[in-house]
Symmetry: D4
Subunit: 224 residues, 8 copies
Amino acid sequence: MTWRSHPLPAEQQIELDGTRRERRGYPEAVYCEGKTDAQLVEIARQVVRAGTPTLFTRIRPEQVDVLTDALPDAVYEPTGRIAAWPGEAPAAVGGLVAVLAAGSSDAAVAVEAHFTARHLGRPSELVIDVGVAGLHRVLGKLDLLRAARAIVVAAGMDGALPSVVAGLVGAPVIAVPTSVGYGAAFGGLAPLLSMLNACTPGVAVVNIDNGYGAGHLAAQIAAP
Amino acid sequence: MTWRSHPLPAEQQIELDGTRRERRGYPEAVYCEGKTDAQLVEIARQVVRAGTPTLFTRIRPEQVDVLTDALPDAVYEPTGRIAAWPGEAPAAVGGLVAVLAAGSSDAAVAVEAHFTARHLGRPSELVIDVGVAGLHRVLGKLDLLRAARAIVVAAGMDGALPSVVAGLVGAPVIAVPTSVGYGAAFGGLAPLLSMLNACTPGVAVVNIDNGYGAGHLAAQIAAP
Amino acid sequence: MTWRSHPLPAEQQIELDGTRRERRGYPEAVYCEGKTDAQLVEIARQVVRAGTPTLFTRIRPEQVDVLTDALPDAVYEPTGRIAAWPGEAPAAVGGLVAVLAAGSSDAAVAVEAHFTARHLGRPSELVIDVGVAGLHRVLGKLDLLRAARAIVVAAGMDGALPSVVAGLVGAPVIAVPTSVGYGAAFGGLAPLLSMLNACTPGVAVVNIDNGYGAGHLAAQIAAP
Amino acid sequence: MTWRSHPLPAEQQIELDGTRRERRGYPEAVYCEGKTDAQLVEIARQVVRAGTPTLFTRIRPEQVDVLTDALPDAVYEPTGRIAAWPGEAPAAVGGLVAVLAAGSSDAAVAVEAHFTARHLGRPSELVIDVGVAGLHRVLGKLDLLRAARAIVVAAGMDGALPSVVAGLVGAPVIAVPTSVGYGAAFGGLAPLLSMLNACTPGVAVVNIDNGYGAGHLAAQIAAP
Amino acid sequence: MTWRSHPLPAEQQIELDGTRRERRGYPEAVYCEGKTDAQLVEIARQVVRAGTPTLFTRIRPEQVDVLTDALPDAVYEPTGRIAAWPGEAPAAVGGLVAVLAAGSSDAAVAVEAHFTARHLGRPSELVIDVGVAGLHRVLGKLDLLRAARAIVVAAGMDGALPSVVAGLVGAPVIAVPTSVGYGAAFGGLAPLLSMLNACTPGVAVVNIDNGYGAGHLAAQIAAP
Amino acid sequence: MTWRSHPLPAEQQIELDGTRRERRGYPEAVYCEGKTDAQLVEIARQVVRAGTPTLFTRIRPEQVDVLTDALPDAVYEPTGRIAAWPGEAPAAVGGLVAVLAAGSSDAAVAVEAHFTARHLGRPSELVIDVGVAGLHRVLGKLDLLRAARAIVVAAGMDGALPSVVAGLVGAPVIAVPTSVGYGAAFGGLAPLLSMLNACTPGVAVVNIDNGYGAGHLAAQIAAP
Amino acid sequence: MTWRSHPLPAEQQIELDGTRRERRGYPEAVYCEGKTDAQLVEIARQVVRAGTPTLFTRIRPEQVDVLTDALPDAVYEPTGRIAAWPGEAPAAVGGLVAVLAAGSSDAAVAVEAHFTARHLGRPSELVIDVGVAGLHRVLGKLDLLRAARAIVVAAGMDGALPSVVAGLVGAPVIAVPTSVGYGAAFGGLAPLLSMLNACTPGVAVVNIDNGYGAGHLAAQIAAP
Amino acid sequence: MTWRSHPLPAEQQIELDGTRRERRGYPEAVYCEGKTDAQLVEIARQVVRAGTPTLFTRIRPEQVDVLTDALPDAVYEPTGRIAAWPGEAPAAVGGLVAVLAAGSSDAAVAVEAHFTARHLGRPSELVIDVGVAGLHRVLGKLDLLRAARAIVVAAGMDGALPSVVAGLVGAPVIAVPTSVGYGAAFGGLAPLLSMLNACTPGVAVVNIDNGYGAGHLAAQIAAP
């Protein structure tokens, strides 16, 4: 004999914001972390029914199959754990977005930002492993940086790269602290505080590991 | 050969507060997280023997079977990881309790609050996915909110929903920060602080993810 | 008799970054908090000699006279504790900047942002006391918000306004947490975390009370 | 010669929420800390013009004269640094509010809560210096506690009193941590965390030293 | 082909403090968490060789077999994850130690303290589940409390029990915060701060979950 | 014209715990920080009327005259900001208390502990400036340390002294972190955490700068 | 059918800083934690191609085989989770490096520092289990300590050892807090703060568990 | 009539570590913050009597006259709030120390380090205002940096300069976070964490604003 069980049906747990695209002009996004399979399936159902372009972020490995079954015609970027429906990015319009990762361990976050900017309709360039320990690497990218309308910089540990980049260009810098590091990095707190205190004006900060948010902002800034 | 082992017997580890119901008028509750199987079985034994209505909160999946065997005539809500013995909620009396979850990831906490309010004897309504990113969703629930005697609002991330809700109604709002989020959400610290600093008076806060406590308070506030 | 004293001369303490304007296209800025009078006088001397347009931020009341003597043809905004040299803002070009303060206690920070945006050459509109406790106030500004190319939102306490504003428009929102509040506001930590966890994409955050940085970013985003 | 100065006029800094009373049924409140004299005078002007009953909280000693001149027919409680306009509290209706202070150093916060509850129209009783170090003191107030519809408990240091009180009664307890203490009290963080983790259900928490918020909630809970 | 590997031999990693017993009069103790199997075996070897009475604390389940093989004539308490060699506790001398756990989830820590006090040679009594939510439970133990020369109180969540107990007796109270709880308990930070700010004098605090340290102190205090 | 003002009378703010001495056997204590003059006068009045021996701690310089007028026959220790009524300490009985201050800046806290232990009836010895930077200083006090029944150690900055002392003796060590230091001392947090994590068993911790509490505990431990 | 997947190729994620050796004179280092297998293989490829001596730190057990295949002629130290390519350490030149671990649980960090110093070309001695609980152990190593040009001290818990060591010698001490401990050690925060507040001058601190960084600094300090 | 007062005599509060110079080879230092005038006078008396060269750090303005009277033949540096007795620095021997301040607000800390290094007998060069916002400034000092045997870098806000400097040279970098900044700088916590997480090896950190400690370490590292 088992307990009588009353799970809340998934359709009572989801009420997608169907009018965001009208109000804001950008696709809907679904944060997958912590969602149950049943919730994801219900979301996919509502997305397809409404025909709303949608990004799926922070997809856990065990959720990939669930989403694949529900949205077969989507595109998935495993490095950035992000997907888009429909799979084709819109034609690129507006200013250039440049996305930098300080180290190769920051690549996942930078790729999430790059993917987002592309799927929100901007041209985007991605550069990885240009941390301040070897300044010549970022100085070697000055042409790209000066061509950009918005720059995303993902960095963990000391979070020093955004200050350096912002000192070199006139475009706004969106800094993304990453949880790369250990000990006194405190899960990204160190680069977060560092970036909030950038000694160079022109640096705005998003949440730790929030590549999606950074890419979204860059796309808004570089909008035509 | 093994070490000689002296485990403390479970019956020496449990002394249920048998008079709470008389003093306070509400069922006993058992927080299951971190309890051993032997402790749970002993608790169930004491509950049945004394006939005390009891809620079981934070039931870990691997504890479900243990409790099922010990209390076959209970009801279990897997979304909220909560159970009640006896399984039948009392007849609903008193004012209406409204329970809101800002996002679908907050559903577990909201369901825990809703289940608790119902099993403490109040009428309760549950609404999920009405965060401030799309204000029209919460504004569409004004009739329900204004009919309620107590409102529970579960929200993670920025924890902004309770301030907005409290600005719209005269009833007290019980805000429950959730651990939904990542990075600078710091396990619910962000919405916790946000709610404690609500710019609207009429917001009281309970512990992160404490849906049980929120539902309990709402039931007390809406008592006949 | 006194100790022999070796104070470091001010001119050895200051090396203004004379080429920022060329590299970045925006005026130099001097953070006055914690600077000695001798340092400020030396800075003013270098500024005038080089003819570099310069903002002076966080001017303490007792520093006003020092700066006045050194830079008589500057303009000073006491609400925002900010000054500009030369005093005349450049002609406004580029997109509109909208600056919002959630409460009247946040006015100082908002004025600092507004003043900065104007002196970096953007048209700017300032609106004060539109917090979420009375949603009708911010909803009444929708026309202004939708006309803006960049929006600055200053808020203390729960920091909920940026999430709400970002949900209503397509332009990027620069959120400035303020130290307005007490207790668990922890000097602005509460709205800082709240804003970093905004449930609406399109919110970037600068340091607590950093109106200057927010205005600078808005001017960059709204550049022609 | 002085700098040309552009202070923002006070009337552009204040937009009182004139409809709160209609929406919520309770007086407006003005948080005075950090407001300039000019802002307070403008607020007083708008309050009188609209005839809106208003509380003024956290009045700094040097602000008393400013408010006195602007609102001569108000009542002022110096222990709680709070004032009300008009000065007469409404007739008391609804359930009883009981306000407890653990120590005499917590009296200021408790008085603020008591004053607020009275001016929101509830009967209220105030008891001071009943901390858990001498349990007989709080046990001696059981009759009052059991007669109350809502109980406010202000406590600093270990913040233990709300747990004890909630274990004795059926009414909801609004716990107010105070900044009384030193060292590891961290400005009220210790009792704040203690209260959020109350081992007794039925405890809701407001911000550190927020006597106003606690009294407001108690009045809402005890509304007729 | 594999890399050439140079592991540091265990005997170069351990230098037991063989003279502690002479200096201090109490057994040696080994904190097992984080030690490798090789380190534990080496320690056991040194312990047996020197004939030093030793406690082993924080034994992880997977370490039990390793220690069993190395020290067959030891006694192991699984509830408290603690062992003693030799297995027989010395005859009890000195004053009585009373060990209280606020809830049954705190039993592990309380048992560790009780076991330690016994193996350091004191008479000890253990009482579990006497939290402040039901004051009558702790008040029912007054005789025991007043007979004790030293009292250990283990509590998680609000950590309120030590203040209450210390207010009732003349003996010193050793408070042990436990990591029992969730959310704003922050792994035991809440009861730790609460206990450090006990409003009753006579409460000293040890590290979170440090039942061993509490029992050790109690044994020292109650020494003949 | 002034506002009508309703200050709460002091006698309604104070309810001394008159039975503590009977329950616990030690004098009452009054924490003066944050108390108003009127509250102090009322407390002094109740103390004299009941004839209760009382300590006054954390006396602010501007409060000295108030207390002097109210309790002329008290004794005051300005280094420790502490006073006792009546002024004569009781005859010393029980074990020896040794009080150590790591640096001369910690003297205030150590003196508060020493004064307290003496006025609770214990013999007490005070030693100042024996930090671990010069180990020979503390090693030179071994005879005193080994003669003591309880040892109080006050230290700021790294808080390393209690670990070292506890390793040398069999008596329990009461560690008092002090707020001496700057920067990453975070007002005493650094030595507080250091002491809670003492690698030597036998160290119990009280609140930052809580010399009174440490002296009280030492007196309890060394009671005859 | 599966989603179309666009993983970023590893060669676009890595841009080794090939000129560090020229600029700084020390080998390159790769922090393996969080790197994907593909990234590690690409790094190994670039290392071999450029012939750059390289250390690999924080190698997770599951990464050992990947690196083994890519760099068969490397040497691996499992206690310190560190490897070097090429496997032979250079001839030792310069001053002596002494590496101390307070407890045997700190051995992993100390070994990482020792290995690093050796592979950067310094003579190095390693001593383990010399914590301050038994001062005679560290006092027994005075000859080694006084012979060293740079001393690394790894300690968790109270982090008291570096203060004590620095008080005994003239050489600089590099303190490495370790995450050994529990509860209020907060993952190494306690010893980190303790070390930053060392009451003895001559102590510099690196990140928690950063044995590599400590060994690197020691090698720089002891350079010929 | 006044209370009978028992202040502890200053000579019982001070026991200078007279043998430090023999043990460690460097002058004694006295941290003046928080010391009473009587303590300072007693210290000066002991210093002169023993003839021990001594530094006085963190001298508060109101303490200057006290020290001047006690030690007329000392030298005082008001920018760095530091003094030395005797006033003449020893002849400079050993390697070069380079001291950098990121901004002019960091000058006080850098001057304290520079003064310390000189009075411990090293040649030292001081450079101010070379922050990363204008990279050309620090790149213009490469010759100095490469000539140094030890480099001190003082920086507040983002604390990014040490990482950049360490990437350019082979000498060890002593990073000093300063409390320059506001908001999320949290009194120097931001640069402290940033520096502890420097992505370049070769950076060691001292306490916030600890210019003395940094200069001391640099002198030790650059010792002949």
